[in-house]
Subunit: 281 residues, 6 copies
């Protein structure tokens, strides 16, 4: 109905004004990446955000796809301390898959709408400097520093950077980096308006089995307390840690969204209530 | 519903991109001006359009308000050829009402949202050069030329010009100008994207008594033919003439909207179907 | 005589250099406004000042003209504490006269020389924020703040702003403001080089009946002392207060000139001796 | 000897001035890419060229490396008309190797000297639009258009673009492109000063077995005649065709150099005699 | 009288506006150069012209001063065809006197008012390219080309170029150039508003013995005719030729003024009647 | 040999990058100025330095040439305290020789390569303000202040300033200034990268008779100590004082080079070892 339309518009336009020129770092993964329909809607959302002047940056990993190629090559994964050991050959495979396949697929999906996206690896122009986490784990790296110059330049040209999370040390040795952590570090370095995690859950839930226990808003301190009290547990912990770290380091808000909802990004950006969980400093 | 919201957003965002930086001249009058609630919504629409980067320009007349003050002053209106004769005293009254009252009220309504609007008369910085239409009619003027420099400058500063249609000749003599015509001339001079007439009808109707006969889209030639064939008649003729003249002189589209519909401007700008009648070259 | 001409030029050119790009706020009123010949010379002076790169700003009131229209409308002025009470209807009349008549006449007189002047009300783009002086007096306002952005922008475009002293509060309610005070506040906000009052006296006189007692130069402290000592009295006191306030708030010099002298502004600006009284910090 | 040093400097400095700001497209391959020592010297040359204001662009293929991974994956190469058929799986492998391995290695070698290089695929920001050469060959593409915007932007930021020659059609389908041809098309689109092929021969030789028959300078017409006359034959033909095409389309000079000579690029750029074969329009 | 002052100001200010930013080339010589009082007034005029935004360029010769030093050095002047032969030693002397003495004295006189003037020789930055007029005359040169870049740059910095008329050929050989001719060539190259010759006569006189026969205004064609008819003769002919040549090549007006009149430049620039003779195209 | 060439290039290119845009003040004199072949090589070096983006500034004196002209004029030099007394006539001669002859010859030698050099005197645009050293010595001046504006402007236009060291006081009186001292003051005022003295010795020698005792590098403190200890003596002392003063006032390095070595400047700038003595803070 027309009346409804003007309500949505009156609600959305001030957000469009407020977010114009602001950087939003989106950690992309899960169903939104593997389901072709959702992937196409995600690409459309990114293009629409950019069309009204926002500056989206996409950060992604690709663990399952790496495993798949290793399997085709007959490589045997080795684990220590519960983490996959990354030797030179494994790193080569990881880099080929992340930079040469997953990154390319995201760039292609966006560029169906026009010549907008540019794929980056953390190795480009010194974007992500990394160091070995533990000699026993091989080329598994931690973020030492983010030099966001190349992203700033692409954003200034109204392009959409898509970042594969391979880092490099000063001697040129590459490392595989956890994408959740890298997304937070990139958002901090860019002093982003928002850091958004697209996940396969509805947001932060007090009871992971009950979607009605969604926490729509929380401060970093509140989340810390919920973790300390043992209310929040499991796989969500690392993402929560990245969120609280980011909002304490200059990012305005961090979000954990349900990437299975079509147009989850648009709804979060341009409606009053948003979806998922929003973390404030 | 969230899903509906994302539909409206996916529909609206491309228009927001397309119209960014574009000039829209709105001839303001009728119920949208005299009904206080509609006037407040109009001011909100203008502010929202500006907030997403459009450049609205408001042009207005004020015949009824002029008549009212003349009556309070005991002045007797005189008519020749069906037009009101404007002697020096009448011109003074018209100028005071248009520039010192109607224009001020519109500026105030917009500026409730921030220091955005600036009132202008066609006399400012040579905006509207006029000449006498007919000596018998006194200071009733026709537009000779529009020098849009001052409007361009205010738009470049992201301000909203509100124009009262008093013109002046090179000797500094003021004239009262028809606001519908002046709006068209201003839109041409600004090479506006759109010229919008807010009226008290649903748009151009084949049968003025039947709202189901609304003509949603028409070319200038089609409208000319409908007028020539006697299908369109009456008070709509001058507005139609201004619309066809404008789109033939560089304005992309002209619109005749129903100003009685709340948020008529927003619906026209940001939805696929729009409302009222759209005239193309 | 040629020799005399070169003397005048050698004297004037350094002032032209010194004042280039500087803002001069002129409070316009009295005989210079009501005598048509002097009004035309004033307009010429403003245009000449601008032609050599100065940035004149004209501020005006219009008490007598307001009273005249009230009388035509049969409105009975009401006084409390010696001040005219301004109800909503009186404010409407004041605004129509100041913005729609007096302001327009000044703009027209200047624009005979080219499309140079732009009329402003204190309501435009948040120029003058006002508050009620006293509930008993109705819409008589005091200046709360001056936001000189719109004037700066017009000056940057080499236009001449002409300001009617209607202010507005944050809810959009208009107020009538004393023009002498407003001129001082505008000069302060613009960090003007000069604030000039055109009056119907020769300047500040020790003995108002004896023009030979003119005080050509005085510091703010000296004037304060002369007022405290009862030497200076009567209607000049408020103008003196505005001058001393202005020079203590960043305006370089304030002047009280005899607007009855033809080309009073030029003589003050471009000759060594000037005319009238100059107030320094 | 110092005297020798000043001779080299006096010879080199004018070239440094002449080539400042000029774009040089280097097609990188052969021994210079596979020999680790030569690869390090190549990276140093690129960095030195950039350090004196030249704008090098590196374009590369990687046929042997693609074949190697296919072999590891047990994929059977299929040939038609002497060309390898590229099905979807082969394309995926080619893209992973070129973008995710070869390109990365070049970027890393350069970035040992600082955060200078950025890897690109022809898919980024619409860089290379391609079309299928022949349905029978699958995803083997020809260059339809080069949109050098992203390269221009990186060069303007003093970065070194390294381009893997994967192209894409408007629907987002990727294609594998011949790197020699792509380098020529990129040089044309950039209106490059020079197009340089690093090869494993001394240049264009009249008798491929006799290095003393090197042709140091030739016009496009002269080369065409030598090919038509059957003097030049074999694997050099496609590179010669790219060179003559490039210099006829706006590239100032094309060069075929011996990439096995250490610092071949520097010697060509900054000495009077250069090395290899230079092709002029 | 004040009234007189305002008359002069009203007359002068429009000229100040009109000439702002315009280049005026002044050929300086005669009494205005040799009389210390007039020289000081000349320097003041140049500074005042610059102070109101004009861009004066001073061009000068120095024949008498050259002769003086030659005499001190015991050098015997030699004449052919009525022109002084300039051998290498004479050229050295001329260059030392013009660049190292006359030019310096003018620069010093101006710089008493501030760091404004910069001395130039036609040799600087390729300003005046010259060729030998006649091998028999030695290093007497004609202007081949004027490259006004260095003057434009100094003017853009609001400096006053003072030009000694030594030229140079492409091999670096210097030549002595006639200053009247050089001034005209410089004015043409700068597309000057005015070319002014300061002389020791009242202007162009029909009868050189009768100052009442001054020709205040003349077109180039009229002057040509007066010369052809034998009315104008003698030493004024070359200056007239330079004037007519200049106005036909883009200079707006050329003037021949009486440099013996104090402030001759100011009176010409800023009064309606001017002094001397004005030549129009 | 090609291999040698690439060695020199690999060594030189980083210096070219490092010194790009940096100011180098060269005090020019001695054999490099009087030997025509060395003078031509010097001019070439200056042009080559500029061609790769350095900003050379040449400062020169000319004592011998002044003495020569004085002798031709039969002027008797007078000495007090071992210094030549400079009366008005001597100053005139010095100024003519320095500005009108020596300066011109340097400018000409450079401009054989293009319109690059501009001659300056310290009198131009207030470049060098001077005061009398001692009334007994007449117009021998000390540097009071350097206003490098005019040099900055010429450098910004990629021109080569050549400075004759005549200074002036605020009343416009000229003074002859020692060129070694002036060069140091100019380098300080420009915050130069390097101050270079071209001399007729190999550099600073511990034993002036033994070239193997050259001190290639020294800090200001080390030099001070060597002077205090009496190791360094004689004519080198003033240049050493200027060097230590300069590096302590913001100049990065000062150099004392052997101007008799062809291309001494190039070798110093672009080779690792340089020549002569380098002084660091």
């Amino acid at each position: 109905m027309n009346l409804t339309k003007s309500d949505v518009l009156v609600e959305a336009l001030p957000y469009i004004q407020r977010f114009r020129g602001r950087v939003v770092v989106v950690k992309y993964g899960g169903a939104a990446m593997t389901d072709p329909d959702l992937a196409a809607l995600f690409a459309q959302d990114v293009v629409l955000m950019r069309s009204v002047g926002m500056r989206p940056v996409v950060v992604h990993g690709g663990g399952p796809q790496i495993g798949e190629l290793m399997q085709r090559l007959g490589m045997e994964p080795e684990f220590r301390q519960g983490l996959r050991v990354t030797d030179a050959d494994t790193l080569d495979v990881a880099r080929m898959v992340l930079v040469g396949k997953v990154n390319r697929d995201i760039v292609s999906a966006i560029n169906v709408h026009g010549p907008l996206a540019v794929g980056l690896s953390g190795e480009d122009a010194g974007l992500i400097t990394a160091s070995a986490r533990d000699p026993e784990l091989g080329y598994v790296g931690d973020v030492e520093a983010v030099n966001p110059g190349i992203i700033d330049r692409l954003l200034a040209e109204e392009l959409v950077p898509v970042v594969a999370t391979i880092g490099t040390d000063l001697e040129g040795q590459a490392y595989n980096i956890n994408a959740d952590t890298a997304a937070g570090a990139v958002a901090e370095a860019l002093r982003a308006e928002k850091l958004v995690y697209l996940t396969d859950v509805a947001g932060v839930l007090r009871d992971v089995k009950n979607p009605f226990t969604l926490i729509p808003y929380a401060s970093a301190d509140e989340l810390d307390k919920l973790v300390a009290d043992g209310v929040l547990t499991g796989g969500m912990i690392p993402k929560i840690a990245s969120c609280t770290q980011a909002v304490r380091s200059g990012v305005k808000h961090a979000h954990i969204l349900d990437g299975r909802v079509p147009h989850a990004l648009l709804l979060e950006m341009f409606t009053r209530d948003g979806i998922g969980t929003m973390v404030s400093p």
